[in-house]
């Protein structure tokens, strides 16, 4: 297991290096520069600014400088969005709200989704099942920004239960964005668990469990649930992505000072180092999630234990 994780960590570093390289050159291909928008600058002033951030160096030198800094954990300094602040500091200070609504959304969505899917499978072809399927379809087909606006209108404006936007009332401010983010994981989990539970409940070992005298709830929770979880773990990765991309939009709508909101802004002002830093940060996050998912597989399903083939 340790050997496996070690190997995976090496792959992770390689993946990150590749992502950083690609993003770096893609950014350079883009027209414009961080200082291009500043029309008021005279050519001389521009040259001074570019020199300060190393933008006047030849491209390979810039690349190696950047990668060298990256290895040391230095993501550079913000060029125009936060005027000279360390990118690492910017990201860390913005992480809190994003992590909070992301985590709450993910947990809320998966837990409710699993419950909904289980109930639907156990009450197959009844109104409970149909309602759950309807919720799942709605959750998948309606984009999170539509949800976000609807939640703002009804729960914020009409009924005044939660703040409409901004990050001022602690937990209360996080409720609506979390719900908006939770819809996709909820719908996905419900669909997967329902299909898989129905399949598992029809399998031979469930009949054997019944033949042993197990009760309905013992069969559902002791025997079926764990086996039905396996395919859900597979979509946890894509779900994490949806939380990430979802938060880009949702943070914008709710005016939450999170990474997503800052990322969007930095793209608009072409703040090179912030864009790079955030991309690398997101990549690390995703790669770690994928590793966790792979480890989780083995925990849930003994047939996929990751000790190098033989178990």
């Amino acid at each position: 297991m340790a050997k496996y994780i070690g190997k995976r960590l090496i792959y992770m570093v390689i993946t990150l290096a590749l992502i950083a390289t690609f993003t770096f050159f893609l950014m350079k291909i883009l027209p414009g520069s961080p200082v291009a928008s500043a029309d008021k600058l005279s050519p001389e002033q521009r040259a001074v600014v570019e020199a300060r951030y190393g933008l006047n160096e030849p491209l390979p030198v810039q690349y190696f400088n950047y990668m060298f800094g990256l290895v040391q954990g230095d993501l550079g300094i913000s060029i125009n969005q936060f005027k000279g602040a360390e990118v690492t500091d910017v990201i860390l200070s913005r992480m809190g709200p994003s992590a909070q609504i992301g985590f709450q959304g993910m947990v809320l969505g998966t837990v409710l989704g699993i419950l909904l899917g289980m109930i639907a499978a156990l009450r197959q072809n009844t109104w409970v099942d149909y309602t759950s399927t309807f919720v799942a379809i709605v959750g998948i087909s309606i984009p999170s920004f539509v949800f976000a606006s609807l939640l703002q209108y009804w729960f914020g404006l009409k009924w005044e239960l939660f703040p409409v936007a901004l990050w001022k009332d602690g937990f209360m401010s996080s409720v609506l964005p979390s719900i908006a983010l939770a819809m996709f994981p909820l719908a996905t989990a419900a669909r997967f668990i329902r299909t898989e539970m129905i399949e598992v409940l029809g399998s031979d070992y469930i009949t054997l469990a019944k033949a042993k005298g197990a009760s309905g709830s013992e069969i559902a929770f002791k025997h079926a649930f764990r086996n039905a979880l396996i395919p859900l773990v597979t979509v946890l990765g894509p779900m994490a992505v949806s939380i990430l991309t979802g938060s880009l939009v949702v943070e914008q709508i709710f005016a939450i000072p999170g990474i997503g909101e800052q990322f969007v802004k930095s793209i608009m002002v072409n703040d090179f180092s912030i864009i790079m830093g955030t991309t690398i940060f997101f990549s690390v996050f995703l790669i770690v999630i994928i590793l966790l998912v792979d480890i989780l597989y083995g925990v849930i399903d003994p047939r996929i234990r990751l000790s190098g083939g033989k178990s």
Binding site: L208, A211, K212, A214, R226, N227, R303
Partner: protein
């Protein structure tokens, strides 16, 4: 002999979108203490459904008892609540399934699967249950049972898994063990081992076995009595010798003729022509008449009653009616009957 289970006029249907499938159409049999009753028949004859209905393992949403009763320990199993059935399943009646590769939970160590019925039905502690489970594994011939308790099903071979399933089914010393084609999915040498094991264990714990199979070779090996099922009914029932050496129903003749044997002279193996009856709309008379070369006119119109051949042997065919014409069974069957004292072809000697 003590009757442990009585199935009386059992009728059961499946409600499907295409209509009502009459899967069991009036089944009667008794199971005696300590015996092995084999139920044979082709796919769709109702043998599995009959036993699953005893355990009440059929989906309640579609399967419906139409009439009849299943008497066990003075109670009618068709009328018990789910809770009461749960106390019987695994404790009084237990079951072994066809495919050992899929009948164990893949994400649960086999130790826990073994102790589950013990903890459920007996008032014992977890550590005691573990001890019993290890003993059970040893009983079914599993080497190093202590080490294997923590392992998962995928770490065992097919034969070993079936041994584990047998151990689970015997955990609470059931009065009845239902084995639904327990050897069909195994290769021949393992089949023989599993059959030996089952016979051995039956002697040790004195349980009655209902053994479902379509393999007549297996039947001859394990059964005391045999019930032949066709089209949702039992068509002939008797001791294993009576069924094998003095069969009376044309369907039994067909089954025995289609069994390969070492001294078969014909190069080609006999096959019963036609297909099983459609139980959505079962035939009016004898369900086998359409496929039988011995069918009489009355077979098409009226269902044959059971005719008694001996105290233990009866068959549902009009051929046994006093007014029926004398017919010659197939040659292979006559060869068999020559060895059976009491049959009209008996030539002396013993079976």
């Amino acid at each position: 002999m003590e009757k442990i289970l009585q199935v009386k006029d059992l009728e059961l249907s499946f409600n499907t979108q295409g209509g009502e499938v009459k899967a069991i159409r009036g089944v009667n049999f008794d199971l005696y203490k300590g015996e092995t009753l084999a139920i044979v028949g082709e796919s769709g004859s109702g043998k599995s459904v009959t036993t699953k209905s005893i355990m009440r393992l059929l989906p309640e949403s579609s399967a419906e008892f139409k009439s009849g009763e299943i008497l066990f320990g003075g109670r009618d199993l068709t009328k018990l609540s789910d809770k009461e059935m749960q106390k019987i399943r695994g404790k009084e009646i237990s079951m072994i399934f066809q495919d050992p590769m899929t009948s164990l939970n893949p994400t649960m160590p086999i130790g826990r699967q073994l102790t589950e019925p013990l903890l459920k039905h007996q008032k014992i502690s977890t550590s005691e249950a573990k001890k019993v489970a290890i003993d059970l594994l040893r009983l079914v011939g599993m080497p190093k049972p202590e080490l294997r308790m923590k392992q998962y099903p995928h770490q065992f071979s097919g034969g070993q898994r079936q041994r584990i399933v047998i151990a689970i089914s015997l955990a609470c010393n059931p009065k009845i063990l239902i084995a639904d084609e327990p050897t069909t999915a195994l290769d021949v040498t393992i089949q023989a081992q599993i059959l030996e094991l089952m016979k051995d264990l039956q002697k040790k714990i004195d349980t009655s076995i209902i053994f479902i199979t379509h393999d007549l070779g297996v039947v001859a090996n394990v059964a005391d009595r045999v019930a032949v099922m066709y089209g949702g009914k039992i068509v002939e029932i008797g001791t294993v010798d009576e069924i094998f050496y003095n069969p009376q129903h044309p369907y039994t003749w067909g089954l025995l003729s289609s069994m390969p044997s070492l001294d078969t002279e014909d190069a080609k193996l006999y096959a019963i022509p036609g297909t099983p009856p459609d139980l959505l709309d079962p035939p009016k008379g004898d369900a086998f008449a359409l496929r039988s070369e011995y069918a009489l006119k009355i077979d098409m119109e009226q269902n044959p009653p059971f005719f008694k051949i001996s105290d233990t042997h009866s068959a549902a065919t009009w051929l046994l009616h006093p007014d029926a014409p004398q017919v010659e069974p197939p040659l292979t069957v006559i060869e068999r009957m020559k060895k059976f004292p009491g049959s009209r072809y008996y030539e002396g000697g013993a079976v």
